[in-house]
């Protein structure tokens, strides 16, 4: 795409990435950096919940912080696995609901990956199904 939407989906657990994917792959490093910095924001949001029970905590963290170029959305699962999505600010068509649904799909796919007994938690995610799902999602967005 001419102006590709930097859809960077990252699955982070224990603060190291399990899976990173970006549409315009050339700026992948930049997305790595952005995701890493956004981890702090995610942590902050999680801790902001205080002692609230996990149940009461919403998984979708929403827009973590916007910059001039992109917006970062976060989502954290009950097992502290964080999903971070970086989208281009120029893409105004993406609504919050869509982001939520994307995170939900991500979460579901991630759960499927976890169900695989051959997957060791903490490994990089190499599941093809997961890849295809992420690809389709990013294609949708872009």
């Amino acid at each position: 795409m001419a102006v590709p939407l930097p859809g960077d989906k990252t699955v982070v657990a224990q603060n190291y990435p399990l899976y990173i994917r970006s549409v315009p792959t050339e700026s992948e490093l930049k997305f790595h950096y952005m995701v890493h910095t956004s981890l702090d924001v995610v942590d902050e949001k999680i801790s902001a919940m205080g002692k609230a029970l996990v149940d009461q905590r919403e998984l979708y963290l929403g827009l973590l912080y916007p910059t001039e170029d992109y917006k970062v959305y976060g989502y954290v699962t009950n097992s502290k696995v964080k999903f971070v999505m970086v989208v281009d600010s120029s893409n105004t068509a993406l609504r919050d609901n869509e982001i939520r649904s994307m995170f939900r799909k991500l979460h579901n796919s991630y759960t499927d990956v976890m169900c695989n007994p051959f997957y060791n938690p903490g490994d990089r995610i190499q599941s093809r199904a997961f890849d295809s799902m992420v690809t389709s999602m990013m294609v949708q967005v872009c």
Partner: protein
Amino acid sequence: MYMVSIDVTLFNDSWLLIMQLCGAKRLGYFGRSQFYIALKLVAVAQSGFPLRVESINTVKDLPLPRFVASKNEQESRHAASYSSDSENQGSYSGVIPPPPGRGQVKKGSISHDTVQPRTSADQQEPASPVVSPQQSPPASPHTWRKHNRHPSGGNSERPLAGPGPFWAPFGEAQSGSSAGDAVWSGHSPPPPQENWVSFADTPPTSTLLTMHPASVQDQTTVRTVASATTANEIRRQSSSYDDPWKITDEQRQYYVNQFKTIQPDLNGFIPGSAAKEFFTKSKLPILELSHIWELSDFDKDGALTLDEFCAAFHLVVARKNGYDLPEKLPESLMPKLIDLEDTADVGDQPGEVGYSGSPAEAPPSKSPSMPSLNQTWPELNQSSEQWETFSERSSSSQTLTQFDSNIAPADPDTAIVHPVPIRMTPSKIHMQEMELKRTGSDHTNPTSPLLVKTSDLSEENKINSSVKFASGNTVADGYSSSDSFTSDPEQIGNNVTRQRSHSGTSPDNTAPPPPPPRPQPSHSRSSSLDMNRTFSVTTGQQQAGVVAQPPAVPPRPQPSQAPGPVVHRPVDADGLITHTSTSPQQIPEQPNFADFSQFEVFAASNVNEEQDDEAEKHPEVLPVEKASDPASSLRVAKTDSKMEEKTAASAPANVSKGTTPLAPPPKPVRRRLKSEDELRPEVDEHTQKTGVLAAVLASQPSIPRSVGKDKKAIQASIRRNKETNTVLARLNSELQQQLKDVLEERISLEVQLEQLRPFSHL
């Protein structure tokens, strides 16, 4: 290029010429087309024809080129083929598909032998893609099929007629080239077996298929070498023609046997860890095994059913034989039966249970069978679904099933909230019934189909009848509602209890909303059971059939089964209760009976058993003796479950008739009320009841004991209520204990989860 390593019985210069002609030299490698061209040229050369470009097309009926492949070549070939991984499909150009399985090296030796006899085989190989019905797309399946062809009775069956025609279209055979590649690698069928054998031990290298899609004889040889695989191979061959991924019977039998070694119960699951162990033995890379798992675990539950296991096994076999893994599970491998009830997903259970149609069904196996107060809602939900079903069936106009959207998932982890059908004012229905009764109408209240439904329910609820939900209904209801039950009896109990509760003072005993007639079996069951037992024992009035029902299996933790129905129930119950209360002298237990009888009546027929009126003081007797035999008999027949026939009292039945077939909980309550109604002299009390009911409906009216007509009745009711209270209290404590246990489990699971995430700092 292994091709290069093939020794052709040609002069080197001829070979060079061939290479030049086919373009390999130009390209620097042997592409698929180059390969084919080269082979053809080899044939041409071997036949003595001059090597020309046009000779490719002009020379027909060439004998297949003869190749003498050295062992090393084959091995290298194998190695080359192995290196190509799943993406190989297209990359087979020039690379003889590696023979399946790890024992390829050995195969090399075997194939070496087989090379000689290849003659036509070889030629056919490249040509086969051209000729054979191209199922080009997935090379693997195609390969499979090709492979099958090979084994089938030797090359004779090969559709590859002659070399000549094959070559001609080979230009177009690009698509088929994949098939050709597949062919090369298509030893799969036979190998699977051998490979499986290797699973258990080391790969029986010797048993591997011949490398090249050599003649059948080769394969046969190989097969014979292989142990215990011939049958499978043959099987495979014959079956794969239509569908490369189809599992033959022999294969399936083999898989099933393997499944049994892990899991003797064929309907059970193989847990992920066991499956991982098993498939790791196949020595496939973990990544591929992971992919296979993803394909075959159809329901994504982390465990393999028999079908899933066979599919996974089949895929592993295919992979070991060199077939690429498909991206999607082939249809023939899809598990045929997805046993919803066995799925670990609790969420499915309610649905299953709910629509099983028989309230008495225990919750799905996976659902905890723990009646717990806190889990009543989930259970209620579950039962509510059942109720829903009933209502739908009865299709009463009044039973427009509405779902209580306020149901809060009792189990936060369960995202599934069972729709709790909101009772269409069971109390109203009850009221109607009562009114009907009052008006002296026959007990048959065929008015509303609800009644019919109720009767259905009542059948199961009969048991509850024994529970004297006189005044202490509220409390009882609360407790009963908290029970988790999946069967109607429970529901009935709930009904009763609920009604009691409604009629009683405290609307909300335990359940969030005023314990509306909780259809939750759990509630009713446990509570009703206890209640029944208690009452029956204590009061002795209850029918002997102390509901010996075990604590109702808590229908899966359903958020709020009860809420919906409960809501309605209370109303109904209230109404009923009021009725009963109005006539305290009426045997309190009657109401229960009444309720049951009502239901039963409906079930059986709309015959009103209002004749129970006389059975007042002997509710327990009522069931049996009630004139409302139809109802009682129905009840008896139907409610063999915990709900004793206590409520067999026809009178209640009559009363219950009026009750709409709402959630069970209301039923008992209703019955109770009804029985009370019936007990009471209908005239006045009925009117009073109606009035009272109306009032009760609005809120939980305390059962007006205004009429101190019969002190004994009052005392009896008081006694009953106390008994109910004790029973419910006990139930409550039990449920609390269960809740604690569950919470402990949850905590332990969370701890385990955290342990799996060693680095989590959160």
